[in-house]
Symmetry: C2
């Protein structure tokens, strides 16, 4: 690669600010190489410089853009939009808008990040209220991208197809899957194949007018099975599915811990099996899947968990770099345009609804 | 109790017919007593009689109503409605309609059971396309009733309130919870508190016109936490949440098994901890929560899993007996009437939407 990839970081975002963001760069490099990435760090210069020194990073690796202003983790989005100008988050996003950076990563306040990103970068997809959030869901076969998991409440058929376009490009850019399979989340029983929105999206995706490897309807238990690479659903259902799964995992974890502490014999067994149990829990550890892009914007914005570790933040950087180096934005642009044509031609309704 | 409770059983339903249904009676008696229950067994007399003899049940315990006809497990609901007349399932439900029995249990084909129940018993609640299915969800605090988990696709605010009324009466009748708390499933973030249907249902439940212990909105992870006793949601979201949770549990179970088989040391540890692990898995074993009533009908119909064991079927009998002996139907009737009045008075909109 001739020129370096430029990534803009909100150095003050998240629960730990520069003390996670800066070592996050180190963690990224240690794990993924990445000498060919230059970072723009937005935030308090003195704090950032101290962390850079501590971790052996120099001006050859990072450029600091000083600002005193920070968007608080509990600030309301409307407030952040009004008062956030000049903050580390604002400036980091603005760098993508002006072209100074190719992507931005922030571990800051999600609502503020969505609002400021939308205000500065504008939506690329039609009809989206705000950027779609994609969850990288660990499955028996790897990782499935599920979207939207909470940004938009109702989603009509067209929006579901937009999610399919964006999720497909994301999986191929970030996880290197050649022709990701896409499914629409629905209920299972014969007599009731879901509401109009999912049936219409199904017909559009099945029509073959879009270059998408469409699998068909999938059900809730197909998510963890890894039946497809991308699952699209409205933000209401997606959010509830994600939180239900998190709750179930925590419930089983609690039962398991209680069982393994329930007597001397169990404690001994648990102690002996511990290395294997630890290895297993790492598989579903959030830090290994940290880094959720906000999809549907004219620009690349990646959200890191606020409480992510340096290793987790490093993974979010990887997601941003992979997206920036891929043809994600142009591919999505082409497919969204093709979809708009398709809707104009009335292709939307041609196949009718599946039998 | 002076007179016996009469329960009608579809003896031919399920994957195993009389060879599970009849010992299911024994399992029910062994676990819950129940000398005060008399059973009507609908199906093939010779097969049923053989099972009764085998398990020491006499005509004092059961009356056989012979029929040769059976609804197949894969029969389509429309077909079952046309051709099912005189079948064991049909006759077992008809016994509830004529008053010969107080409740019916069937492990037969769910779609057929819903269709024939609706045809014979009619819906008690307005606007329901078909009976609501309630899932008894194991949680950290016991069991939460979640409905609807798949019978109705879209649910308007009024239907969600009907689910609240039915689920509340179910929890108090079957699990003996005095004033069950009720929550409406919604998404979490501040800016978007769900769509109109959930907000309107929230306003109706919060208004205090119904004698319901309303908690407010809950999120997906509140299900397994056991935050409330009853959670209402539309059948689309409920079905996806239920199957997502089942998929997650299976996924973690697979990871756990793989981890515990991953080497000699883990295998030894697993062997030692096995009694505790087995005890834990029984807690989430479906047979201990088997027996899902179809709510919203003028009569009590309980669905058992098709593949249930005798012990599981015994639990479904318990659900039917508890409902039959409780004031479930009259309580639901009163509250549905009160709700209809409330809607007439325009109370539906008085509180507006939550801040």
């Amino acid at each position: 690669m001739a020129s370096k990839t430029l990534i803009s970081l909100d150095a003050m975002g998240g629960d730990h600010g520069p003390s996670v963001v800066v070592p996050g760069i180190k963690a990224y490099r240690a794990r993924f190489g990445g000498e060919q990435v230059h970072f723009h760090l937005h935030g308090d210069e003195a704090l950032i410089r101290a962390e850079m020194d501590k971790h052996g990073l120099t001006d050859a690796d990072c450029t600091i853009f000083h600002t005193d202003k920070v968007v608080a983790m509990d600030e309301k989005p409307a407030q952040a939009m009004r008062r956030g100008k000049g903050s580390s988050m604002w400036n980091a996003i603005e760098a993508v808008k002006t072209g100074a950076a190719q992507a931005v990563v922030s571990a800051g306040n999600t609502g503020a990040l969505m609002a400021i990103s939308k205000l500065q970068l504008r939506m690329a997809a039609t009809g989206l209220e705000r950027p779609a959030i994609v969850a990288s869901w660990p499955t028996l076969r790897g990782t499935t991208a599920v979207l939207d998991v909470g940004a938009n409440i109702g989603s009509d058929a067209k929006q579901l197809v937009e999610f399919a376009i964006m999720g497909e490009a994301f999986q191929s850019a970030v996880h290197g899957i050649e022709k990701p399979t896409v499914g629409v989340l629905n209920v299972g029983s014969e007599e009731m194949k879901g509401h109009d929105e999912v049936r219409e999206a199904h017909a559009m995706l099945r029509s073959g007018h879009l270059p998408i490897n469409y699998y068909g309807f999938v059900e809730g238990d197909d998510i963890a099975k890894g039946t497809v690479d991308v699952i699209v659903t409205d933000g209401f259902t997606g959010n509830i599915a994600l939180k239900t799964a998190e709750g179930t995992a925590r419930f089983i974890g609690t039962l398991l811990k209680d069982a393994l502490k329930s007597g001397l014999q169990s404690k001994i067994g648990a102690l002996i099996a511990m290395p294997a149990l630890k290895k297993m829990s790492r598989k579903i550890d959030p830090s290994t899947v940290n880094g959720g892009p906000l999809l549907g914007l004219n620009g690349l914005v990646v959200k890191s968990h606020g409480g992510a570790t340096a290793e987790g933040f490093g993974n979010a950087i990887r997601v941003a770099v992979d997206l920036a180096r891929s043809d994600y934005l142009s591919k999505v642009g082409t497919n969204l345009a093709r979809m708009a044509e398709m809707a104009d031609m009335g292709a939307k309704t041609d196949g009718g609804v599946d039998e």
